[in-house]
Structure formats: structure tokens, C-alpha cells
Symmetry: C2
């Protein structure tokens, strides 16, 4: 149960902290100072303290953070102490790239269903062992596969229809790569990925710098 | 010239405002209320006013924002009133998906060079007309093509080497899709894209909600 409204930016930063901490863990670093952790995450130490303070007391004054412990705690805060089952729609280059991307599995996201509208692709077996299913089967297949999260990488014009099907499952969390704003009822959450927004950040810094 | 330190989140939101405004422009909407714009962007109207206030006076009280005008102003703020020339390295599924993604061209980003390390891919002509070049040629080709921005979608172990080559061009803004933290000298700016961070946001909301 959460009693405070946590800023979205805090959640995003917690994710980033855990990624950096995982790198430290791989290098067998047991403890990290808040200064170094902040530096590696591109924030200041006060920000890390503030973000964590929403959820309790972490770290030891004068020592820093125990790497394994903090990874465990952050993953628990984010709800990553379970496996998330992901359905993906649109098996073009982007869909294939996502399914092959090692990061998802590493973070506890498992692709359990893949869909496409193209009859030439339906029935094809992917390297992961998944067989591409028709989009018309999204509701039935996702229910059976117990998918929790949906990823849309279709063209813009197909995305709303896919989202509507996800909503019927119901799949309440959707990652949308299609360049369109998806409309969903309250209680559903869409995260849009627009690569060009990141490029705009670079353009701004090169211009303003 | 900028005299204030502008928060990174403001720049990201300006990008998002301009995407929503462009949708409005396509629908031939001349004016948008700050309330509706805020709703479509998923923020509150005060946030929009605050973000824009860093750069001057925008909108008309009791009317809202003139859509075309505000798009123009935001694009100018972000440095998008010019074409940005982009070099991309790693022509796997993700690289091919990015180069084919209509959003980049629409936002003024033009791919001017593509590279890969795989001898089987080098020399291949892409649908855009670009020919895949060897990574060893990054410095020479990028200088000739006058690339401003670099995109890395190689495996993790190749990314730092590519970044070092970009730094020699010099290309000062890099969008990094490889799952690794890239180290670059001061004055260079890297934006990391980690899809799983977005999924973590969803996981958190489904868990906490």
C-alpha cells in the first residue's frame, strides 16, 4: 500500500539507480558511496536520498549503500520481485529487435505471446520459441498465456485497435512504440516511447550549449 | 543564449508538447486551450506555463495557444529549426527499424550515414538509398557527410569503441541504445534509451495501483 503520491520521475530514477547498481554488482562491488552512485546516475546525492525517502530508510551514513541490498529493495518497490509476462504485437524490425534484446529477460520481463496482422508472418516460429499468432487472437491467447503487460510496435493506424484488444484481456499496462496517442479507459496505463524526443534533448543541448 | 539552467524534464516536456501540437495542426485546429493541451500531454496547465516561461511569454490569456505559432516557437527553442544530420551504427533489427521509422524524418532528423562491423552487411544498400559502411570508416565518412548526431544500436561490447570514433569526428550528441553506460569527455552528451525503464514504470503502477 502506498500513501504518498510518488512523482513519475522518482520511479524512473529508481529504475536507473537499479541499473547502475546491477553494473556494480557484476563488478563485485559490495558498497557504493552515495556520491559515486549519484555521479554514475547523473544526479546529485540529495536527489537519491529524496527519492528513496518516499519508501523508507536506506543506506548507512558515512558508508553509503550496500549494493545487493539496495538492488533488492528497489526491485521490490518497483514490483520487480516477480516475473512479468509480456505480449508483443507487430513483429517487424522493431518487434524482432525487442524480443531479441537481452535486457528484458535480465530485468524479469518474459515475452509469452507475439502477434502480427500479416498472414505471411502468422505461424512463423521465432528464435525464442514463440510462434507468431494473428492479432484477432490477442484476447484469447493473452488470457491463456496470463500476460500482464503489452507492447505495441505496429504502424500508427493499427495501434488503437491493438490497445482495445489488450483492454479486453484485460492487460492494464501498455508500452507503445507506435507514433500515435492511444486512448484507454481509466485504470489503464500507457507509456509511450518516442525516440525522437530523446534526439530533441540532444539537439537542444548542442544548440544551447 | 540561455541564462537560466533549464531542467532536463522541461526540455523533454517541450518535445512532447510539440508532438501533441503537431497532431492538432494535422487536424487543422488553429487554437488550443491550455487546459486541453495539458490534458493531451498528461500534465497540468501550470506545468506548461512554467516550462514555457523559461523562454518568454507564450499564449493568450482566456484564449489559449495558437497551434502553429507555438509549434514554431518550441521547435526554435529546441534547435529544430534546422535539419539535423544523423549517423547510425549497428544495422541489425533495431538499426533497420530506426532508419525506417517515419518519425525521424518528420521531426527534421535525416540519416546521412549507416555503419556496421559485419562484412556481410557492408556495401548493402538500404531502402533509404544509404549504403552500409564499415565502422572503421566512421570518422572519415561522418566528417564528409557532416553528421551532427550519432545513434548507437550495436551490441553492448562494441558501443564504447563506436562512441570513441564519434568523439573523434567530433559528433557531440549521441543516442545510445546499447545496454551499457558510455564514457565520453566533457562537452559530449549521451542520451541512453533503455526500454525496460519504461516497463518498470508500468510494473510499478500495476503493483502500487
Amino acid at each position: 500500500m502506498k500513501f504518498l503520491k510518488i512523482p513519475a520521475a522518482t520511479i524512473t530514477r529508481l529504475s536507473i539507480y537499479s541499473r547502475v547498481l546491477e553494473d556494480m554488482e557484476k563488478q563485485a562491488v559490495p558498497v557504493i558511496s552515495s556520491k559515486l552512485l549519484a555521479e554514475l546516475c547523473g544526479v546529485n546525492p540529495a536527489q537519491i536520498r529524496k527519492d528513496l525517502a518516499y519508501f523508507g530508510q536506506f543506506g548507512v551514513r558515512g558508508v553509503g549503500y550496500y549494493v545487493k541490498e539496495l538492488i533488492f529493495d528497489i526491485r521490490k518497490i518497483l514490483g520487480l520481485n516477480k516475473e512479468w509476462r509480456v505480449a508483443i504485437v507487430g513483429m517487424g524490425n522493431l518487434g524482432c529487435a525487442l524480443i531479441a534484446h537481452g535486457n528484458f529477460a535480465k530485468q524479469g520481463y518474459r515475452f509469452v505471446a507475439a502477434f502480427d496482422a500479416d498472414p505471411m508472418k502468422i505461424g512463423r516460429k521465432l528464435a525464442t520459441g514463440l510462434v507468431i499468432q494473428p492479432v484477432t487472437e490477442i484476447v484469447a491467447v493473452c488470457r491463456q498465456a496470463e500476460a500482464d503487460l503489452g507492447v505495441i510496435c505496429t504502424p500508427a493506424e493499427a495501434a488503437q485497435d491493438v490497445a482495445n484488444r489488450f483492454a479486453q484481456v484485460p492487460i492494464k499496462g501498455i508500452l507503445n512504440f507506435a507514433p500515435i496517442q492511444i486512448q484507454l479507459p481509466d485504470g489503464f496505463k500507457v507509456e509511450n516511447v518516442d525516440f525522437t524526443v530523446k534526439l530533441d534533448n540532444l539537439a537542444y543541448h548542442l544548440t544551447a550549449g
